[in-house]
Symmetry: C2
Subunit: 472 residues, 2 copies
């Protein structure tokens, strides 16, 4: 048992925080640890604090919780800092998207080729990127030996940025790779029997290895794709796109199956308008990155936030109530994903799927577990510069991160047609941010199929940056 | 005096051929050489043959001419093969451009970001690229020690292609860098006093060094740009764009002055439509890459072709006539560039500006002269792969090509925002050609601001490739 000091920045995101707390409660090797919850929203922070404390109590987990609204206090002397904060929240994303749409940019200017995810802003998210660096700089001063576990988007740009401009230990997380499971399930293969590997950049990863007992299971995928009938695809929610027509189309062009959010991150072919989105990602939503799909997601988030505060109030007023009962019964009204996630919180046999706590466990207790992590390339993917963050499998132990050899290597088709253009957009976005030069955002938009004139690009950037005070 | 065997493929281009012949006549170190003119157009070949022979006679140059319509005959046993042929001619370019415009692609689908030059097709020019490889393969068999001097466009794609897929000695030529002279003249500085360097890729070169006696002349450029008034820019012909508003705009963004055809090869900002072209490249044409600008160019070409055939007929009928008189007096009716070029043919003190003959002289007579050449990068420009053709200054002597160190190096702004995207487009175009996969051309068009739907891109590519029989 090794106790550590962990803090969660942006802990007001109740679902994320409770998933991590739940994982901690199921990881006895980290009992005795102190967990600091930090958020600038006092109400949500208070609610999550109450729920987290009660949750650990009911799980008989030896953990100690504290809360703060002050960033520095959540960093000083910590061993692990998890950052999940979204600066400006969804309101910021919505405002920027609305200005973009007003100027003719469907789904906003941050929706770009190979990065269509609706809360993964890379062009206008300067406050978010600044916050990433702020945490890193505070850690250099107040917790120089600590690990920064980056959960907040954009993970690709963020990981590259922090690793380039800071000396702290840092790694980026995403759970998109778990959708390998869905590929296996669809083909009727137990995931435990599969020898799989993914590689690429965050939200741009590809199933480069997919074998069982040495046999290449891509033969099955090929057959599946050959018989695929897009009319039979019926997603159960907007995020249910792993086996969508877009996936099959990408597989046919790129030669490997895109995994997780990669499916959403294709080019304009699948994203021109609502009709196109529905065609490629299924009715009625057309992916989470459509107007109705994103609306669905925000409604879910709203419900959860409401439920979180209500649950915390209930526990305060009726300390004798069982949180477990309240959560499991109360979440039945929620749709698919959230209900399943809520039920899983109390399931002792299964972790949440977030990798943060197992990662801490691997580092502290030397367990040598396998993860899919965002870390600097350093040769893992040939053709991509060493100082670019890639998302690859790695073993983690007390010594740190040991990236797996990517075998077989990613095909040239993916490196040349997908990763290199995506890396260039990352470089452009980071330069614009570092130089605080919104003219570079205009330049990026001049390469955008939605731009009809220089004046249009100039006008949309001016309005966004002035309205949001971003250039200051 | 070292006699060599030289052939010119596509010799029916009278201006180009006569410029080379004129240079040869003024290069006594190559007297005794044999020159083979090759073209599939018998009429134009005959005319050029008559004119070249008579020209050398009048110049008292010891050169021997032959002509052929058979490619192999122009290659076997040669020491230098100059290729200037455009397979399909301007008719092919015009047909493909027209189909593109019919489908909503202003100036045709081959007009792409950083490659807007109207006879520099990279997406549909498969016959041209095939011909490049055909020459190289014939040379491997029939003239393995000879040099291939590539003059035909696309020089960037062509040089990279031939160097990757053939073992012959090969170098690409362009005369765009001579516009450094116009930059110096505009600033009132004699070019002879300037220590200059350019670097980049063909039609994408930048003035990285511009000094006099150690003093950086960019201070003058900065002042010039600060006082630049776009309303005062009046081009004398469509090609007169070196000091156009587009140049100043590119200089402001990229930090260096674009040289020669690079000015034409900007992004969509300067190329959306005729109005935009006129704004950035001057009235009335708006660059050579506009409808009226290209029309102007083709009319000039037509006049010269007509004059060539007429001159040859005159010499045949009146063998006592002076070709010099006919050329110099006859060309007075032609506009600017061609009249000057015609007059220069007989000027013993000045070469044409084409680099091919001086290059041959440097190799054969070990003169160690300076050129600007297209050759594999091999580290000259950091950030660009070794096996990509770059355009850089080099000394040439009997040992071959010695690329200069690029000093100062190109700024990151140019490498990251201009060269890397241009290199990617070259890689995409070459892969499409090598794989004979027109779906890849569709994929390239999906990244094009003019594309509104996948169906549009698919339809234009299908029509072009079917009409022209390109996929066969």
């Amino acid at each position: 048992m090794s106790s550590v000091n962990i803090s969660i920045i942006g802990a007001g995101s109740a679902v994320f925080s409770l998933r991590l707390v739940s994982d901690l409660c199921k990881t006895e090797g980290l009992y005795g640890s102190k967990v600091t919850l930090m958020d600038i929203n006092q109400d949500r922070l208070d609610a999550v604090y109450i729920l987290a404390s009660r949750f650990a109590e009911e799980m008989n987990a030896n953990l100690e919780f504290s809360k703060t609204t002050v960033l520095e206090e959540a960093i000083k002397g910590r061993d692990f800092v998890v950052n999940s904060a979204l600066i400006g929240g969804h309101d910021f994303l919505d405002r920027v998207r609305a200005i973009g749409e007003k100027h003719g940019y469907f789904r906003g200017i941050d929706s770009q080729e190979f990065n269509m995810v609706s809360d993964y802003y890379t062009l206008t998210n300067w406050n978010q990127l600044s916050f990433f660096l702020k945490i890193a700089k505070l850690m250099e001063r107040h917790a120089p030996d600590a690990w920064l576990l980056q959960a907040a988007n954009p993970v690709f740009e963020g990981t590259t940025l922090i690793r380039r401009y800071s000396s702290i230990k840092m790694v980026g997380f995403c759970h998109g790779h778990y959708d390998v499971r869905e590929v296996a399930e669809t083909l009727g293969i137990p995931i435990e029997e599969v020898d799989w590997q993914v590689a690429g950049v965050n939200h741009g990863i590809w199933l480069n290895r997919f074998k069982r007992n040495g046999e290449d299971l891509y033969a099955l995928i090929q057959k599946y794709a050959a018989n695929y009938d897009p009319r039979r695809f019926k997603p159960i929610n907007p995020f249910n796109v792993q086996m969508s027509p877009a996936t099959i189309d990408m597989y046919r062009f790129y030669g490997l199956v895109p995994i997780g959010d990669t499916v959403r991150n294709s080019g304009w072919k699948h994203h021109y308008n609502q009709e196109t989105l529905v065609k490629w990602y299924g009715a009625p939503w057309g992916s989470p990155d459509s107007e109705p799909g994103w609306q669905w997601y925000k409604e879910q988030l709203g419900q959860v936030t409401g439920a979180t505060v209500a649950l915390a109030k209930a526990i305060e007023q009726f300390p004798e109530a069982s949180l477990e009962k309240l959560i499991v019964e109360g979440s039945r009204g929620l749709s698919g994903d959230f209900a399943r996630q809520a039920a899983q919180l109390y399931n002792k046999n299964s972790l949440s799927g977030e990798q943060h706590i197992p990662f801490i466990d691997a580092i502290i207790n030397d367990s040598s577990a396998r993860f899919v992590l965002n870390t600097l390339n350093e040769g893992a993917i040939p053709g991509i510069e060493d100082n670019v963050a890639v998302e690859v499998p790695a073993l983690v132990d007390r010594e740190g991160i040991h990236t797996e050899a990517i075998d077989p290597p990613l095909p040239e088709r993916i490196v040349k047609w997908y990763l290199k253009p995506r890396v260039l957009r990352m470089e452009w976005a980071l330069e614009a941010f570092i130089e605080r030069d919104s003219d570079l955002i205009v330049e990026i938009l001049l390469k955008d199929p939605r731009t009809k004139s220089y004046e249009q690009a100039k006008a949309v950037v001016r309005e966004i940056f002035e309205t949001e005070g971003l250039s200051e």
